[in-house]
């Protein structure tokens, strides 16, 4: 379903050009739950951003459902993010001006898949029913991550990309959030690519891939 071929990406820095990804190749099947691991600066987040259509590759192909998203223009990539992908970041996931209820429905509405009963079920399973009228700044980091997961899954994306979603949480909260994510994504049949430093968390996923010096090992 998802095929990355010879992906390359570099950035201009004060010290010169930094090559972050140097020919990444990776295949993910439908419903796969994969942990993407590697040291800091190995290019994990960059890879995730490229797959999410947030950034452009220097070269290489990202084929999703038979379509090369690296060749899409800005508008097409925005449509791709709206309809095909769900994103959970470590922080700043939520739209600060919307309350929890509106945040959860936001992506689903943008994707044209607004489904109130499904959103209610997610709210119940995530245990955030009492937070619906609160704003992101009134939530703890753990609560924010639950809402972000709810928003992502409410849109029923085919691909969920999570960049260290539990990085700011303590172990117990992190485990609880991950457990929810795994169980819910399994329920929706989404493919999950999750960036993490934690071997303990990675062990709970179907597969692990390691990125070192810009390449998949």
């Amino acid at each position: 379903m998802i095929a990355l071929r010879n992906l390359r990406k570099s950035y201009e820095t004060a010290e010169g050009r930094l090559e972050v990804l140097r020919g990444v190749n990776l295949d993910l099947g439908a419903g796969d739950r994969v942990a993407l691991m590697g040291e800091s600066g190995s290019g994990k987040s960059t890879l995730l951003h490229l797959v999410a259509g947030l950034d452009r590759t220097d070269s290489g192909e990202i084929t999703i459902g038979g379509r090369d998203i690296s060749k899409l223009n800005d508008r097409e990539r925005a449509a791709y993010r709206r309809t095909k992908v769900g994103l959970v970041f470590q922080q700043f996931n939520l739209v600060p001006s919307l309350d929890v209820a509106a945040n959860i429905a936001f992506h689903a509405k943008l994707a044209g898949r607004h489904d109130p009963p499904w959103e209610n079920e997610l709210v119940a399973r995530l245990g955030i029913g009492t937070l619906l009228t609160r704003y992101p700044e009134q939530l703890s980091i753990g609560q924010q991550q639950r809402v972000a997961i709810g928003r992502t899954l409410a849109a029923r994306p085919g691909l969920v990309l999570a960049d260290e979603p539990t990085g700011n949480l303590d172990e117990a909260n992190g485990d609880a959030v991950l457990e929810l994510m795994l169980s819910l994504s399994k329920g929706t049949g989404s493919t999950l690519l999750l960036v993490t430093h934690s071997q303990r968390l990675a062990d709970r996923l179907d597969r692990q891939v390691h990125l070192r010096s810009g390449k998949i090992e």
Partner: protein
């Protein structure tokens, strides 16, 4: 050295954010400019009044005056001189030389105390020319220019004289003004012999007016200067909004620097001193620019102000500006004071926040949310106070109090009203992006509220003052049509010519309407009494406000008189009240007429009653009723027959045009100040949007990541700004109309003595709306360009770094 190093670290913030520095300095400079510009104008005008008072009124010395304003018999002066008092007589009045009307001040140079320095006659020969027939007029160069060909009297020019006034010998003045044996006041020299009989015994009916007492002109123009000061302060307050917002953000953004400096051993007091020094430095720099711009603004506006003061109050103010320390020092002082006031909150926060507290630029500007309830309560209290002042208080200050409370209360209420509106719109929308649009607009309110309040004030001032001026203009033009009913106006140069003119005209026009007037003191105020013929022209056209049913019959019979609106309101006269006119004449008030543009009271009597009681009245001017198509012909025949100069024969159309021109020139200053205030508000908006654009990425990045293009986000940013402007503009309309109503029904009545009907001018609103729209587009341009250029990697940093 340590301090210098710390200062360098603090100042580096501005090097990295030149636009923010520009906003701070320009906000402060503009605020100072308008304030000091207005102060410069006021200082110039007041200096001119003082000069006029010293030169023309001998205001540096005490004067003997009649308490009820009536004339002083010359015998009183003779009695004082005989008793050994060093006093000098003065007779004042308006006299028309051809078409030039002058304030004539009759003096007696031989007894006038030397310290008044009134007339420098140089040598004995000049004194002789001054006091012996035919006499001499002592005038300013400009007045001399206007007087050419208008009089046979010799003109002596002095730079010390003021425009529109002339010193002449008192004997000649009594003759010209037809007030033989009368005096207006008696100047008392400073040094008197000892052992003199007290004044109260010699002249018990007269009272002493102390030196430097407030003059009539100062009193009359007080409202105008208060008006200007209010405008200057409004613009200053709008400018300070920019300064407050910028300083608040800069302090918040520099909190990591403060934290680092303090960790490195810079004490809190040293840090506070450095920040204060930085602020004072900026205030002085911006103040200097502001004072310079203020000088320029004042120089540009002063000719208009001078025209206004002359048009409305007959006050002579030079059209050129002097660099007076009182206004440029006050300009610097207010720049520094305004900066310190705007930064008090930030400085206090600096001292209260714990050393290691993290920077939270996103929460900047939101502190008002905590105090929003207080803000609403304050707004309600101010609006209630405005209503209470309107109902129960009196006077010009109360009128401005109503305006101030109304404007401030409404502006404090604006953010809450807008927030409520956006909440309703958000709830009413179902589409995700539309919901977010309204929610995000509401979230921007804390950061923009000060700028929006400034904008509301500027727009409301524009709508209010614009409505007032346009209503005034419409009423004025209609009033002119009524008042200037005669087709042609002619002025003879002397009584002989006037006699010949009357005879000649008798067979050539439908009717001749004499325009006769005498100066008089009525109820202690200098006024004019006009005489009108019993003619259908007046019965059909004269703009009466109220009157008895047989008002014109009463006037014609001499039993009743008309009074102008300002006299009627000022003295709270009622129809039927008896007036005590000079010459023991006690007619009843039978009607009131509108008389715009005249600061003084006026009385209209029947022509026969006037001429019989004041036989000395000048009979030089006439209004002529003829068919409009005969005007040009009669005009040329008058010129040919009598050799009258063009200024002595004026047709109705020219007179109306001239009046309209004077009117428009009068309100030029108001228009200019309106535009300046709107400009400052636009800058406040620009500065706020620019400031907010630095904090927008964390708010926009999640929406972008979820599939909204940067282009769409940029368009929504423009749309949001336009919605905010439009909402503020709509809110400004009722506020502006309320402002106009207060100006027309309260302030104008107190300031000028006339009340005008209010008209609505939607076309002007449309024009103002378009100007505001243009300013909105300009204000959003740079922040928008910044957003449009943001790269995906910059947006992605939001999700990776602490911001």
């Amino acid at each position: 050295m340590k301090m210098w190093t710390a200062a360098t670290a603090l100042l580096s913030h501005w090097r990295r954010r030149p636009l923010q520095l520009g906003a701070l300095l320009s906000g402060l400079a503009l605020a100072t400019a308008l304030w000091s510009g207005v102060q410069a104008i006021n200082a110039e005008a007041r200096a001119s009044y003082t000069r006029a008072a010293v030169v023309l009124d001998q205001n540096g010395l005490a004067n003997l005056v009649s308490p009820n304003g009536s004339a002083i018999p010359q015998s009183a002066f003779v009695r004082l001189r005989r008793a050994g008092w060093s006093v000098s007589p003065v007779l004042e009045g308006d006299y028309r030389f051809g078409v030039t009307r002058l304030r004539v001040i009759g003096i007696e140079p031989l007894t006038m105390p030397a310290e008044t320095n009134t007339v420098d006659l140089g040598n004995a020969g000049d004194v002789l020319s001054f006091i012996t027939p035919p006499g001499m007029l002592f005038v300013s160069p400009r007045t001399a220019e206007k007087m050419r060909g208008q009089t046979d009297l010799a003109l002596r020019v002095s730079d010390r004289m003021l425009d529109g006034a002339a010193f002449i010998d008192i004997g000649l003045a009594q003759k010209l003004l037809r007030r033989e044996g009368e005096l207006s006041r008696i100047v008392i020299a400073e040094n008197q012999r000892s052992g003199l009989e007290p004044l109260e015994k010699l002249v018990p009916t007269l009272s002493v007016r102390e030196p430097n007492a407030e003059t009539d002109v100062e009193h009359l123009t007080e409202s105008f200067h208060l008006n200007l000061t209010a405008f200057g302060f409004l613009a200053f307050a709008v400018g300070l909004f920019i300064v407050y917002a910028t300083i608040g953000l800069a302090f918040e953004q520099r909190r990591p620097t403060f934290r680092t400096l303090r960790c490195l051993g810079v004490s809190l007091s040293a840090l506070a001193v450095l920040l204060l020094a930085e602020l004072v430095l900026f205030a002085i720099a911006a103040g200097a620019v502001g004072v310079a711009i203020g000088y320029l603004v004042a120089s540009l506006l002063l000719p208009g102000v001078a025209a206004t003061l002359e048009g409305l109050y007959g006050a002579s103010v030079p059209g050129t500006l002097s660099l007076r320390p009182e206004w440029w020092v006050s300009g610097f002082a207010i720049a520094v004071a305004g900066t310190l006031v705007s930064s008090v909150q930030s400085l206090l926060r600096l001292t209260r926040v714990p050393l290691l507290a993290a920077a939270q630029p996103q929460t900047w500007g939101r502190s008002w949310q905590a105090g929003r309830r207080f803000q609403v309560l304050a707004a309600a209290a101010l609006l209630a106070l405005s209503g209470a002042l309107l109902l129960w208080a009196e006077g010009l200050e109360a009128g401005f109090g109503v305006l101030g409370c109304l404007l401030l209360g409404a502006s404090l209420l604006l953010p809450t009203v807008l927030s409520g509106f956006f909440t309703v719109m958000q709830r009413a929308s179902s589409r995700a992006l539309v919901t977010w649009f309204w929610a995000d607009a509401r979230q921007q309110l804390p950061g923009l509220s000060l700028a929006l309040m400034a904008l509301l004030l500027a727009l409301a001032a524009n709508v209010g003052v614009g409505t007032m001026v346009s209503s005034f203009r419409l009423t004025f033009v209609g009033w002119l049509d009524q008042r200037l009913a005669a087709e042609l106006y002619v002025a003879a140069r002397n009584e002989g010519e006037a006699d010949r003119l009357r005879t000649w005209l008798a067979t050539k026009v439908e009717s001749v309407l004499p325009i006769l007037s005498v100066d008089a003191e009525i109820r202690g105020q200098p006024m004019q009494i006009f005489g009108v013929a019993d003619d259908p022209t007046y019965r059909m056209h004269w703009p009466l406000i109220v009157g008895m049913p047989d008002v014109w019959d009463q006037v014609a019979s001499g039993q009743g008189v008309l009074v102008n609106e300002q006299f009627w309101r000022r003295d709270r006269l009622r129809i039927g009240d008896q007036l005590d006119l000079p010459g023991d004449w006690k007619p009843a008030v039978v009607g009131v007429y509108s008389d715009y543009g005249n600061p003084k009271g006026q009385v209209i009597a029947g022509i026969n009653a006037l001429t019989s009681r004041y036989p000395q009245v000048s009979r030089l001017r006439y209004g002529l009723r003829i068919q409009p198509d005969q005007v040009a012909d009669l005009r040329s025949r008058l010129t040919d027959e009598f050799g009258l100069p063009p200024g002595n024969v004026v047709d109705q159309a020219a007179l109306k045009e001239q009046s309209r021109r004077i009117f428009d020139r009068t309100f030029l200053v108001t228009g200019a100040l309106n535009i300046f205030t709107l400009g400052v508000a636009a800058l406040a908006m620009f500065s706020s949007l620019l400031t907010l654009s630095e904090m927008r990425l964390p708010q926009l990045a999640p929406v972008w990541a979820l599939g909204v293009t940067r282009r769409d986000l940029a368009l929504l940013e423009v749309l949001r700004t336009l919605v905010l402007w439009l909402a503020t503009f709509i809110a400004a309309l009722p506020l502006g109309l309320a402002l106009a109503w207060v100006l027309l029904a309260v302030v104008n009545v107190e300031a000028f003595g006339w009340r005008l009907p209010m008209y609505i001018f939607p076309y002007e609103w449309l024009r103002l709306g378009l100007v505001a729209l243009g300013a909105a587009v300009v204000s959003v341009f740079i922040p928008l360009r910044r957003l449009a250029r943001v790269t995906p990697s910059e947006l992605l940093k939001v999700f990776a770094n602490e911001r």
